[in-house]
């Protein structure tokens, strides 16, 4: 090999640099995922950008990127106000870069601008893909098909004890105005960041090992930026929630937030405090139900006895009426009999001056039945005489 056939490294690097500068003399928009991110005291932000294979997650391309402090000072709050989150590992971003090649440091992409709507759009796309996958796997109704006990009193609470909303939830639940008592146990987990799904799944596993001790699992977390809560769109976490053997109740974020695990959970409410109210309302509803049944019982008894008393009164009145009628009837009957007796009384005939003839104690009502020599008894009003028939 002759000297003309090789060049120095510096020369090579310079050639590469010049070639790149010629090809990329203008800034370009690049979409990539942030796989590393750190900033230092100088205010510069150093990133590693990657592109992954959609199906396998294999890294296909990788580059270092820098956001100089002067740019980062404006870019950071701009991104935060648009997305509600700061730049973080795992985010898909669309950045405007200047390709830079240094003989010493190699290739760098200098970031000058960012499009936050891309990141938000990518998150939404990812969520939609996750939802479609869950639907295809039949996960949507699994947890909601479980029966939630009418009085869910023993609660496993998956959250961070420093998480926004946990203290509010506990206060709302345990200091409820009705005085209902609940038994809660905290199963700590990270509630934001890329490690959150794994952490929550681990907490769910701990609950599952003591499943008979609880009526339901609650996953709660207060409000946050979109990226803070993106962990609740994680597919693996959603599958764990869907397949969990106890009803899972979620109260995550603010009123407007809705996440994938909300859709596969048994019950989802807007906020941790709303979840406390949901549980308290369950008890209040059952108490109202018991009170209503007690009232119905009282009314039923009162009604029944009143009805029976009315029936008895009616029967007594009917009996009285029947007796009255019968009494009158009997009186009349007796009167008629009395009249007949009176009519048949021989004393009446005698008192009118007539007499009654008896032979052998029997009344003689025909002269033809008598013969001379018959002995008769003649009865008068004032007495009786014995007589003999002398002649006929």
């Amino acid at each position: 090999m002759t000297d003309e056939q090789h060049i120095s490294l510096l020369m090579l690097q310079e050639m590469i640099r010049d070639s790149l500068q010629e090809s990329f003399y203008e800034q370009v928009w690049v979409r990539a995922e942030i796989s590393e991110l750190k900033s230092n005291r100088t205010g510069h932000c150093y990133l590693t950008l990657v592109e992954k294979d959609a199906g396998s997650d294999t890294v296909l391309a990788k580059a270092s990127a820098i956001i100089w402090a002067s740019t980062f000072r404006t870019l950071k709050p701009f991104f935060l106000s648009a997305t509600g989150s700061e730049l973080a590992v795992g985010m898909n971003v669309l950045v405007k870069v200047q390709v830079q090649y240094s003989e010493l440091y190699g290739l760098s992409l200098i970031v000058y601008d960012i499009d936050p709507s891309f990141t938000v759009g990518e998150m939404e796309l990812a969520r939609q893909r996750t939802l479609e996958r869950l639907k295809a796997d039949g996960m949507f109704d699994m947890n909601s098909s479980l029966d939630l006990t009418l009085l869910p009193r023993r609660l496993a609470v998956v959250t961070s004890d420093t998480a926004a909303g946990y203290r509010d939830f506990m206060r709302q639940l345990h200091e409820n105005e009705y005085g209902y008592s609940f038994v809660t146990e905290l199963f700590p987990a990270l509630m934001q960041g890329s490690d959150s799904p794994r952490s929550v799944i681990a907490a769910l596993d701990r609950v599952a090992s003591r499943i008979d001790e609880f009526d339901a699992v609650l996953i709660i977390r207060g409000g946050g930026g979109a990226m803070d809560l993106v962990c609740f769109d994680d597919y693996e976490l959603a599958v764990n929630v869907a397949q969990f053997p106890l009803p899972v109740l979620t109260g995550i974020g603010h009123d407007h937030d809705f996440h994938v695990i909300d859709m596969v959970a048994h019950t989802s409410v807007k906020t941790p405090t709303a979840l406390a109210d949901f549980l308290i309302d369950a008890f209040a509803q059952e108490e109202y139900r018991a009170d209503s049944l007690a009232q119905r019982l009282q009314l039923a008894l009162k009604g029944k006895f009143n009805r029976e008393l009315s029936l008895v009164d009616a029967r007594v009145a009917a009996l009285r009426r029947a007796l009255d009628v019968r009494w009158v009837q009997e009186l009349r009957r007796i009167e008629l009999l009395e009249a007949r007796v009176a009519a048949a009384d021989p004393g009446r005939i005698l008192s009118k001056g007539y007499s009654i003839v008896l032979r052998d104690g029997r009344r003689v009502d025909s002269a033809a039945s008598l013969a001379a020599g018959d002995r008769v008894r003649i009865m008068f009003d004032d007495g009786a005489v014995e007589a003999e028939i002398c002649k006929k």
Partner: protein, 69 residues
């Protein structure tokens, strides 16, 4: 009813609903109604105690003889 101590709330409230419906039935005469009423009132007390404070209250009721175990 003899197993009220071991009864689940759902079972108790369901029995109570049935009893009240039976007592409310206008076709039902008064024969045996006293027993039904007694059972229903026990269930009302049990359910309300469970709603209020689960085991503690129920155990107290059982000890006091207001609910048959």
């Amino acid at each position: 009813m003899n197993d009220i101590q071991n009864m689940k709330y759902e079972e108790a409230i369901s029995q109570l609903e049935e009893l009240v419906a039976r007592i409310e039935d206008p076709g039902r005469d008064l024969t045996g109604i006293a027993d039904d009423v007694k059972k229903a009132m026990e269930l009302v007390r049990w359910c309300k105690a469970y709603i209020r404070d689960g085991e503690a209250e129920m155990n107290k009721l059982i000890e006091d003889g207001k609910v048959q175990a």
